[in-house]
Subunit: 341 residues, 2 copies
């Protein structure tokens, strides 16, 4: 008859007992603290290995008040963009022995906010936030917790925390300019969430490009919804049913673009011949031959890595770090959908 719970594993005291020394010394040996005799240290190491000792993270946290855990908040694990970012984060921080709680919000501000309790309770050491909410209210709440925070989305007002973003305006500009160069005169814009920075910034770059050509965006050709392909599909259907339908569309992300493709396909319209299309993100599937989506590529993994490095640096330093802001530059990658070939 065995107990279900081993009720705690091997502790530092067991090692001390076995090695015939005090547990303070064991702690020192295990943590490579100075002032412990070589012979003792190796004996401790030997015993600890033999007994199968693993330090109890909770106990350690309690006294050091750091958990070596981070949280990464993303709005949609189902959008290939975010797993890529997550990978960048995870790989970087794991090298420094940090682990990450992946928090998926499903674009739900309430759920996002509800993670606050998690962070507070678990006393995570740092937080990387890709907010679904763009007025910065939630981010500000997170910032108030005092843990190092880096946001990988931008906000209207300055939150005063680290920031790693890609230059959405520039990306939008690139897209607009490229479409213009092709001579399209009725260029539509399909955004994600209305008011979301990813939408508005990309749009403003797009507008800038139009302005450069002496044009203005036609409000009737600018539709919004959410960052899903269903939304792109529905809005494209509307746009393409128009009397004078657009001959080019800039989509605020690739998922939207794929929805647009779908709509065009169904209507028998040829993407690139009848309708030029540019997306944003460069998710893996964009390069797929059957898709060949021209898009504004974001350095996804890099984004995660940069955010992780900032957190790590902040965690490593004693003083409070000044808020850093890193702006990554997106690039136009030309495939078929824009009608270039």
């Amino acid at each position: 008859m065995q107990h279900k719970k081993k009720k705690g594993g091997v502790t530092i005291k067991d090692i001390a007992m076995e090695a015939g020394i005090s547990y303070a010394t064991v702690s020192r040996a295990l943590n490579n603290r100075p002032g412990v005799k070589k012979a003792t240290r190796s004996r401790v190491l030997e015993v600890s290995k033999r007994l199968g000792y693993y330090p109890n993270a909770a106990a350690r946290s309690l006294v050091t008040s750091q958990t070596r855990a981070l949280a990464l908040v993303i709005p949609d694990i189902t959008n290939p963009f975010f797993p890529e970012v997550a990978r960048g984060v995870e790989e970087t921080v794991s090298k420094a022995d940090y682990n990450v709680f992946l928090c998926n919000t499903n674009w739900d501000g309430h759920k996002e906010l509800s993670f606050l309790a998690l962070f507070e309770s678990r006393r995570i050491d740092g937080l990387i936030l890709a907010s679904s909410n763009d007025d910065g209210a939630i981010a500000e709440k997170f910032a108030q917790t005092g843990v190092p925070l880096v946001v990988i989305s931008s906000f209207e007002r300055d939150i005063g925390c680290h920031q790693v973003i890609v230059d959405n305006v520039w990306g939008g500009y690139l897209a607009g300019r490229h479409l213009l160069e092709h001579g399209y005169d009725r260029i539509a814009f399909i955004g994600g969430l209305a008011g979301a920075r990813a939408t508005t910034e990309r749009f403003s770059g797009f507008e800038k490009a139009l302005a450069g050509a002496g044009l203005k965006a036609d409000p009737g050709l600018c539709l919004y919804g959410s960052f899903t392909w269903e939304s792109g599909y529905r809005n494209a259907l509307k746009l393409l049913a128009l009397e004078r339908r657009p001959n080019a569309i800039f989509a605020a992300n690739d998922l939207l673009a794929m929805g647009i493709m779908q709509a065009a396909d169904e209507l028998g319209l040829s993407i690139s011949d009848d309708l030029a299309l540019i997306g944003f993100d460069d998710i893996g599937f964009a390069s797929y031959p059957r898709i060949c989506l021209t898009t504004i590529a974001q350095p996804k993994k890099k984004l995660g890595e940069a955010a992780a490095e900032i957190i790590l640096a902040d965690l490593g330093s004693e003083r409070k770090e000044a808020a850093r802001k890193i702006v990554l530059t997106p690039e136009l990658v030309i495939r078929r959908s824009c009608g270039c070939y």
Copy 2:
């Protein structure tokens, strides 16, 4: 001049002080333990809210020896199959106030094993494992830790832990049978990792279907690699360069199938007319109009949910639960790629 670290937040003692009672009572009130006066309880709640109290998870873990943290190990966060599973897990366990560490192994057995230290150290309460390694060696090591473990992949030998799997053999059979019904006589198989259960089981179902028609799988038409689309692409290229090339292919997952499509496209071969194709998983993109991949659909989210529920049940019960095994049934979903339309 402010200190960087707040060095611990509001504690139970602060509340006790403020409310003028002992901290044991505060603890009881906060945890809804019986035997605390209604008035006291509400006062505690009020004070705790006013002070912004969050229980310290580490301290709590230390005494209760449970962390309310689970780990989910997956081999490839970049394969849309797994985020879907992850979502099922996360949504289910979060309702019971558990959080999850997402551990991505990149199909690397070493990395997978290295997570062991994490689990031991963090004393996670439970573990859901989609192993990249199929002989069960790693899973067995995980099982030895004594924490409730549910694997969502199958192994050659019986590991003696909970298991939630989909019937790969049946899935393979469905695929083979469907292809056979179409009259294809040279059916190839492109697997993922050779020897991986996902590969071998799906293949064995496929063989069974062939056998039912008095046929045998042609070893020359069965290629292996990894579960990525690049691998599918490369192997398809080989297959399609054959003198007597196959007229149908069963791919062990959708990513592979998409690679195969790509190869066919490049060679000017029509999927469905010149080459029938069936995948496995039913990732989101399979239903995309430009893909229209006929595939064996796995209940991805369900898989995660079921695994999570088992863990939760195990965690909830006092005695050691008998190992449960849940087998989910995959389904054939017919789209274009198999030549049905």
